[in-house]
Symmetry: C2
């Protein structure tokens, strides 16, 4: 199998992500500085802080792949923060007893374990609204209004019944059916159904992250299409890597309870095909993602961060 060929590093990936993570954390602190009702805001801040901020980084890196390194970042920061608010909301609601009933996340107690189920549920709802409000209030004087309305519309689609939330429902539908599916794992329709869980649950928001960053700084249709294809590979790979970590990781490095997928009889690429096939799939997705970045319309040194984020999403240890 060929090695993933990354463009020559002309900057340090660690410094690049560190600087942007700090910017995102600072801006999130600013956007989430609400005071009243205090328990609600504390609960919102609790779940937004920390984590990899991968989706925000992808949004910024995508914008920079079009506009140039360090260019027009400010324009995209509010959207990248909004994406992290929604991601936090999805973790809060997912972890509730009514869904996955998880006690740990990002190495600390889950939101409802600290603030109670009622506040956790409402904090999720409030984060969803704050995300949209932030995009409008912080960018409507800088971004073309037609583009902005399209960004918000796509955002709601990526989150709602045809995106992340829909994927979570499919995930529930398939839970407990691993054995049935294994028997028919050559059944194309069933495999596509499993893929669509991943696409919805994780890839939809990741795809939006990459698309929105580029769209806001004026990428053309062809570039947007290629970046979306890239994001779909990355999103799918990210979910498989997540499933692998759940199967092989431990709480200390993972920050959340491992082994839950198998215990809950969840249908994932790993519980369905086993670790080896999952790793092969990951490698394939990584190669396909890299190929897309080499397309004429995208190929320049400026997509190095996107390439490295793809690698990071796949080979991370938490």
């Amino acid at each position: 199998m060929q090695t993933i060929g990354l463009p020559h590093n002309e900057y340090d990936f660690h410094s690049y992500t560190k600087a942007r993570r700090e910017l995102i954390e600072a801006k999130l602190a600013e956007f989430l500085s609400g005071k009243y009702p205090s328990a609600l805001w504390e609960s919102m801040r609790y779940s937004v802080s920390g984590g990899k901020k991968l989706r925000a980084l992808l949004c910024l890196a995508s914008a920079e792949s079009i506009a140039g390194l360090n260019q027009e970042i400010d324009l995209v920061v509010p959207v990248s923060c909004a994406i992290e608010m929604v991601h936090a909301m999805s973790l809060i609601h997912d972890d509730l007893p009514a869904l996955d009933n998880d006690d740990y996340r990002r190495g600390k107690l889950t939101n409802h374990k600290v603030y109670g189920e009622a506040i956790a549920l409402l904090a999720g709802d409030a984060l969803l609204m704050l995300a949209i409000e932030t995009i409008i209030e912080k960018t409507s004087d800088k971004v073309d209004r037609q583009v902005l309305l399209k960004v918000i519309s796509r955002f709601t689609q990526a989150i709602g019944a045809s995106g992340m939330v829909g994927g979570q429902v499919l995930d529930l539908d398939f839970t407990g059916k691993v054995e049935d599916l294994r028997k028919i794992k050559n059944n194309k329709a069933e495999l596509e159904a499993v893929e669509s869980i991943h696409k919805g649950k994780t890839a939809a928001l990741i795809k939006f992250s990459v698309w929105s960053g580029a769209a806001i700084v004026g990428a053309n249709e062809k570039q947007l299409q290629l970046l979306e294809e890239f994001a779909e590979k990355l999103g799918f790979a990210f979910q498989i890597a997540d499933d692998l970590l759940d199967s092989t990781g431990n709480l200390a490095t993972l920050g959340k309870t491992p082994g839950k997928d198998q215990a809950a009889n969840k249908v994932t690429w790993v519980t369905l095909f086993g670790e080896q096939e999952a790793r092969q799939m990951l490698q394939k997705l990584a190669e396909e993602g890299m190929e897309i970045l080499k397309s004429d319309e995208l190929a320049n040194n400026q997509n190095t961060p996107l390439a490295e984020l793809l690698k990071y999403a796949i080979y991370r240890t938490n």
Copy 2:
């Protein structure tokens, strides 16, 4: 106490509301015709159907008070439907065991009693996103983009931490403190806190309903300000009427479990001041609301529906 003076009826209120309710129900069915995942869409449709549709009616009536009876309704229908989606979402999340733990709503089983807690929670999230998507997808080619962005931003504020969701959190904060509050019921700060629960929990969305209908059809600043003041009276009155019904109604006429506020030791205008004072407050709010509609900037025959909706919100039996 003076009687509420309503403008002369030049149309039939019953026919007016019936025609608009049917329009709203038909449009909601269209906007909620999604198929996959089926359980999610069924759950969403289940909670959006039925009910008084008061918020949608207020949105339409407010638009008509500015543009003229039957004028420019189509322009406002998507927003009025979006408001009903969000209202349905608030009922679904509110009824969950983590919050009010209610079994009946609108005379039928609550959403989670039919679809389970996981689907109910996710259906609420999906409705929130569909609401925003509907506003953009169904009106962005007809409404000025700057106005539309303002409508969406205000919508998120009316729903989020400074609006409806914030009000629900305050409601939780005060639950169980009726006796403490009774002792200090002349304490202005505490009373204002109780008022702010009502303002957030119910009035914020009602205020947005009235504001958005008028804003979309081009009301001027003074008209918008007066309509918001009117809506604040109506919203507060609606909540007090709701609390009175909870205290005096029965399941058959009410469609939801009565007597829950007292049992749960909730702080409402009724549990705090008793029925008589609550009814006096209602009468006062009704009079103040009618006065606002008589202002020069609003006074014309076209605000008859708004006046009758105020009366309806207060003197309804369910």
